[in-house]
């Protein structure tokens, strides 16, 4: 082995391999892919329950004493005691005053109760066309017969006062020459 080594020593050229320089393009797989949301700005709608929780209960002044109306604990009518029950006044919601003129002028209505009178009372020489009850004669400011419904509209005096309740009857009476006339008659309620 040593002889062979001596024979070939220096005879074997060793070459280095030089590759020519090449500029290979490097490609990236990355590219700009546009992304689209299905819904760009989704609208959010909320239930309004929280707002409703704070729903104001509005108030209106009533009658000639409306100047005494307040939103926080003053009664509308003089002399009316206000019972401040805890459950009712635990929180005072905001109140708004609105024009009340039309509310104040709302009449009470009385239906015709003639059919319940039956045979209990029959005036002589007259027939009863309508019977309205109960009406506090002393508090009645104005009345009007609603011809559409047959009800009597009663505008009552809101001022505190005592008065007895009455029946108000519309009678048809035979007059001279066979002509019939209408007449309104007040009758006290039984037992009054």
């Amino acid at each position: 082995m040593e002889k062979l080594a001596r024979l070939f020593a220096g005879r074997v050229p060793v070459h280095s391999l030089r590759l020519p320089e090449r500029h290979l393009p490097v490609l990236s797989s990355r590219s700009d892919v546009p992304l689209h949301r299905l819904c760009l700005t989704p609208p959010i709608k909320a239930a309004r329950f929280l707002a409703w929780k704070r729903l104001p209960a509005r108030t209106t002044a009533l009658g000639p004493l409306r100047c005494k109306v307040a939103c926080h604990g003053v009664p509308l009518m003089a002399g009316v005691s206000v019972s401040k029950a805890e459950t009712l006044l635990a929180a005072a919601p905001p109140c708004h005053r609105i024009p009340s003129s039309r509310l104040v002028s709302l009449p009470q209505s009385r239906t015709n109760r003639l059919r319940y009178l039956a045979e209990r009372w029959k005036p002589e020489g007259a027939s009863v066309l309508a019977l309205f009850s109960p009406i506090i004669k002393g508090s009645l400011l104005r009345s009007a017969l609603d011809k559409q419904t047959g009800s009597l509209l009663c505008w009552m005096n809101p001022a505190p006062g005592k008065g007895d309740p009455f029946f108000l009857l519309l009678l048809s009476k035979g007059g001279q020459g066979g002509q019939r006339t209408m007449e309104w008659v007040w009758l006290p309620l039984p037992g009054e």
């Binding site: 209960a57 009533l62 709302l106 009470q108 209505s109 009385r110 319940y116 009552m156 809101p158």
Partner: protein, 184 residues
């Protein structure tokens, strides 16, 4: 509270074409209003109707309208009245006691004023409140069936007012308020 200060409270909570609204009127025994409160109309959206289903109406009537109305009323009446029996329990829960639902009937008059006639299991009874009218149907809440204790007050007031009539005026008042707000 003396005799001159006696009062009744009337409550309506209604739904019309998807709009809910409520009102309370307290009157004296002549039917003269002492206090009138009403809520803004509430119109739930379609989404809210779908999400909350049947619970929505209950919630609006009881939690939103009734609660706010009763909080606002400053005069405590002797008796609360409603037309719908569905309101009896929520009114009781909100502290509006005693409460009765009150309705006109088509029955023939009972024999004498003050006479009552039981109407069976529902706890309702007929009351002949005055001499020339049909009897009224009164229904108490299940929790408090004692109607007879309230009869003296009802009979006293029936001498000077129509007990059911304030509901009609409240309806008209709400229409007027609605018209005024539309014009404003």
């Amino acid at each position: 509270m003396d005799k001159g200060n006696r009062a009744f409270g009337y409550v309506i909570v209604e739904e019309d074409k998807g709009v809910f609204q409520g009102a309370v009127m307290v009157t004296d025994f002549r039917g003269i209003p002492l206090d009138f409160r009403y809520t803004d109309p509430v119109r739930p959206t379609r989404l809210e109707r779908v999400l909350y289903g049947e619970a929505l109406e209950l919630y609006l009537r009881e939690e939103i309208l009734l609660k706010n109305l009763l909080k606002a009323v400053e005069i405590r009446p002797q008796i609360w009245f409603c037309r719908s029996r569905d309101l009896l329990a929520p009114l009781t829960e909100q502290g509006a006691r005693p409460v009765l639902s009150i309705e006109m009937t088509g029955h023939g008059p009972l024999e004498k004023v003050g006479e009552i006639q039981s109407q069976g299991e529902g706890g309702s009874l007929l009351l002949q409140a005055d001499p020339v009218s049909a009897p009224l149907r009164l229904t108490p809440p299940e929790e408090d069936r004692d109607v007879e204790g309230l009869l003296p007050l009802l009979l006293e007031a029936a001498k000077t007012m129509e007990l059911v009539e304030p509901f009609t005026r409240m309806r008209k008042a709400l229409e007027i308020v609605g018209d005024e707000e539309k014009r404003a």
